[in-house]
Amino acid sequence: MSTTNETIQDHGQHHHKDLAHHFDTLEQQHDANTLGMWAFLLTEVLFFGGLFAAYTIYRYKYSAMFEEASNHLDITLGATNTVILILSSLTMALAVRCSQTGNSLWTGRWLLITIAFGLMFLGVKYVEWKHDYHIHLMPGKDWSGKDWWHWQYAKKAKEMDTHGKGAGHSYPDKKDVIADNDPSLGVRGIQESQQARLFFLLYFCMTSLHALHMLVGFVLIGIIAYFAYQGAYSPEYYSPVENIGLYWHFVDIVWIFLFPLLYLLGAHMGH
């Protein structure tokens, strides 16, 4: 490859204040930044993809227990969270729009409102997880194990007794639980408990990873909101806002996949 006598005089030209030194034009910089964010999101798809793959394989291997376990997740809270997150994507899109039209004040405001929605989401998750911890569904040392089978059995027995009186999603009292020395229990149900525990492990792994991405998102959105208030963004240079928007929408889409896969497996009927 060779050069001709022509070269471009590129020192001494007027540099836009937002143009990084290694780029030639604002447009090139914008394209590079956007393409970079899309490439990064592609890696995130594969990152979550590994977990989704493991989940899919076990979901088909242990379909009955996974459905049972899924029924223990609160579908109302999950749906609420889905709505919250979609709203946050709306406010994020509005923030991007404002940055494109040079409205610094509202760029910052919409970004902060997005964070607020995100925090609400995490608040709901906290409520959910606290409840799960309380009833020993966290797949650590505290896992209910044998209790899982007890509840399944006792819950069904209770439902049979109430003759379908709209038995709520309630957990039986200690007195309703089958005694530990009942000869019909013991080793039976260990395998089901293992499968249910696997569901909850995957549930916590996937939603934790998602929550972690949200936390990182808060930090980044916060920084960009700060710069937005300082008037750093303009119709010529708004790509940081646009790119954080891409990231946030991706976080939203991951949840849109997680919600049906994790919460909507079983029929959730009569629970």
Binding site: Y62, S63, A64, M65, Y153, K156, A157, M160, P183, S184, G186, V187, R188, I190, Q191, E192
Partner: protein
């Protein structure tokens, strides 16, 4: 060390010459192409060495016939290798129907072999010459690999499932048995000997110091573990009759608690029997309630193999009687109302 040095392993099984022939073909291809590349590299380097700093060679952008040639010829050779490889592979993995069956359990860091007639061995495998032998393998802990280089076979031994390999020995002698999947500290010491004997010698070896056969041990377990209380084989049975079920197609009604299409059948091989003992809900026989408890944690892999050996041998009318020592289990006495509870 020089006395024992070998270039090539012994060919001691029916499959070994096939594998070696295929190898030879690939070796020839490899040597020819490597030589070609080597000779051309050195040849061109010498022939076209730089003689003058001012000489600029004319560019050569491509030559379609040449490129097609050096693409298609390798494709052709690869297809030959692939097809030939599949042929040899299918001979390696498909055992003949009449193969004699042995069982091997791998654990850190030893091999435990069980003959159906009762002989048990550790880190040794006696087999007769000229008869196909199929070894069913499982692990008690981590993944191992049962490998006999002289036979050119190996198979990973995975915990939680059965795998198998087969061979037919063609030469008497003693051969190496290696563990070929890294399994911890003493992985290099998990080796054994495969001793191939004439048929007469093998029969003599079998009859010496054999314990009662696997199937007989299995029968003892069949009563001790209370299988016989439900699988009674008569009209009061609460569980299917196991006589003669081995390698039959069994109609099943539920998989993991989910009702399935009528008429679905499962092939009752070793794996299915093992699965039914450890995960009774996995495939429930049609027409029966799923009330069988699981034996996870109550049987070792070896005991499982013995029970399976017994069930395989169980013919019509041979189910042992239930006695006072094996009363009806409580679950049946409680008369549980719900079918779904399991």
């Amino acid at each position: 060390m020089f006395e024992e040095f070998k270039w090539l392993p012994e060919q001691a099984s029916t499959i070994a010459p096939e594998v070696d022939m295929l190898t030879l073909f690939i070796v020839i291809v490899t040597v020819l192409i490597s030589l070609l590349v080597g000779v051309l590299t050195i040849g061109f380097a010498v022939a076209f060495r730089r003689k003058s700093e001012s000489y600029i060679p004319a560019p050569w952008f491509g030559c379609i016939p040449l490129e097609i040639g050096w693409t298609l010829i390798p494709v052709f050779i690869c297809l030959i290798m692939f097809t030939w490889g599949v042929k040899v592979y299918s001979n390696i993995v498909i055992p003949p129907a009449d193969a004699m069956e042995l069982y091997a359990v791998g654990r850190q860091w030893m091999w435990k072999i069980q003959h159906p007639e009762g002989q048990r061995e550790i880190n040794a495998l006696h087999v007769p010459i000229g008869r196909p032998v199929k070894v069913t393998l499982t692990s008690e802990d981590v993944i191992h690999c049962f490998s006999i280089p002289a036979f050119r076979i190996k198979q990973d031994v995975v915990p939680g499932r059965y795998s198998s390999l087969w061979f037919q020995a063609t030469k008497t002698g003693t051969y190496q048995l290696f563990c070929s999947e890294y399994c911890g500290t003493e992985h290099s010491r998990m080796i054994g000997k495969v001793i191939v004997m004439e048929e007469a010698d093998y029969q003599k070896w079998l009859s010496e110091g054999a314990e009662s056969g696997s199937a007989l041990q299995g029968r003892k377990l069949y009563t001790k573990l209370q299988c016989v209380t439900c699988h009674t084989g008569n009209a009061e049975a609460k569980a299917p009759n196991l006589e003669g079920i081995y390698r039959k197609h069994i109609p099943i009604s539920h998989i993991d608690g989910v009702k399935i299409k009528d008429g679905t059948k499962v092939f009752a091989d070793d794996s299915y029997i093992r699965e039914s003992i450890l995960y009774p809900n996995a495939k429930v026989a049609a027409g029966w309630e799923s009330i069988m408890p699981t034996y996870q944690g109550l049987v070792t892999e070896e005991e499982l193999l013995q029970v399976i050996a017994y069930i395989k041998s169980l013919n019509q009318g041979q189910t042992p009687p239930r006695t006072e020592e094996t009363p009806t289990p409580a679950i049946i006495q409680n008369k549980n109302p719900s079918k779904e509870v399991n």
